[in-house]
Amino acid sequence: MEDSRSHSSVTAAIYAPIGEKALVSRIRQRLEDAIATGVLAPGDRLPGESALASRFRVSLVTVREALQHLRATDLLYTKQGRGGGSFVAVDSSHAQALLERRIAALSRAEITDLATYYRTIVDGVLRTISAMGLEQNLDAVRETFLRADPTDGAEARSVQGGLDLRLAGESQSVRLVHEQIRIQNDFGALLWIGLDDTDLRSSIFALNGTMLDEMISGHTDAAIAARGEAVTISLRWLLSRRNDAQRHERENNR
């Protein structure tokens, strides 16, 4: 008979799956998302296999397996010899379909939960910055943000990702930075899908500006509210795209 302690919820957490097995699919998913949302464009060359392995901090075998999957689905192709390597293969319509499939595969509950998590990290980041008395550091972050002038959704997502990551960095918390990087990699590209739409893009970017202004003038709550609104706008768009994608799939299956 097992010791009763091993049944408590606390000890259960210790033995929760670490997720090693999921490495290949997580790498594949991340690259697929980058291709689907245009962060990696057709013709872009990926870093070499060993560079990727050291970046992802996984073994070479894991990287090779993930790349193999992407080749099999025609998302990547390989060129041999000098100047060779793995290249992004898809044309834009293929990327579009990929994105639709990815969105349709998520449940509504999953999406809202990911958005809650994303929002919570940034809330924590903003509160920490003000508790640490570091609001003035955001002047430089604001300058960089205002200088960016993205012309399409993919560029705008890069700007958004850069902003969110730098904010996390300003909180001076290693763990918050790590969580931000993780949620951004797992969900950022999808969450900010609304940046594809010109009007939504300008609303979201205006709210980013408001968030930074409010932070700098010491109004943390107003800053958090502005950020929440930006996430909600994009989330709504993502959910409606998901409904479209699912309807599309249903019709095709008929």
């Binding site: 970046r55 972050v141 990551l165 001076q172």
Partner: protein, 240 residues
Amino acid sequence: MTHKGTNVRTIAETPEITRLVDVITAWHARVPETIERVSSVAIEALSTTPRSLEARLEEVVFDALNSTSKFAGAGIVSVHPAVLDQSRSLLWWVTQRENGRVEPLPLDADLTELGTYQAGLEDIEWYRVPATTRRPHMTGPFVDYMCTDQFAFTFTVPLEISSEFYGVAGIDMTVRSLEEEIESLLEDVSDEAILLSNNDLVAISLDPQFATGSRLKSRQLEAYDLSPVPGTFLSIAAPH
């Protein structure tokens, strides 16, 4: 060094303070000469054979990083066309300890999780301040999530060729490397002593209410006597 508060009092020079100052000075001693080596190699390469820039920098940086365990990274950062024509804007290497061996690893912002971080290089304190003041600067402590994932100080100096600004040369040192050496010495000064960076930023605080990386307001600073560590950007603070 100047201090923000108007009526800042200086700590009396006790043997404890002197010992602490000596250790901090020794910790900092090799910073200026090491950056000078990196920057003179960069300037030399840029003014004669720009093609050799990366290889020559790599050599001097490897040497510096292997010479002591105190340095967590070193290199140059530039957005000058003369550098960008040859290579990347971040020519920076970080120490990666594997199986007890130090292995310098090139920092490749294009390959970090979010390459766009690079877009704002010029706005980041360790670049912006030397670019504006044309003087050496110490940034931090801040979380260096581009390389060490730890609290670090980044020391940077302007890279100038015939008074034209080319970028910065610098090194990273972890806060931990300093903390290990001075923690008990700080305790000797006061149970609530703080090591401050650039006058008001908390580097190491024995008082748990102040986190490393947070900024003290001038009203909070009034409760402390300060003692600057000559030749550094650090000062020791002890409550009156």
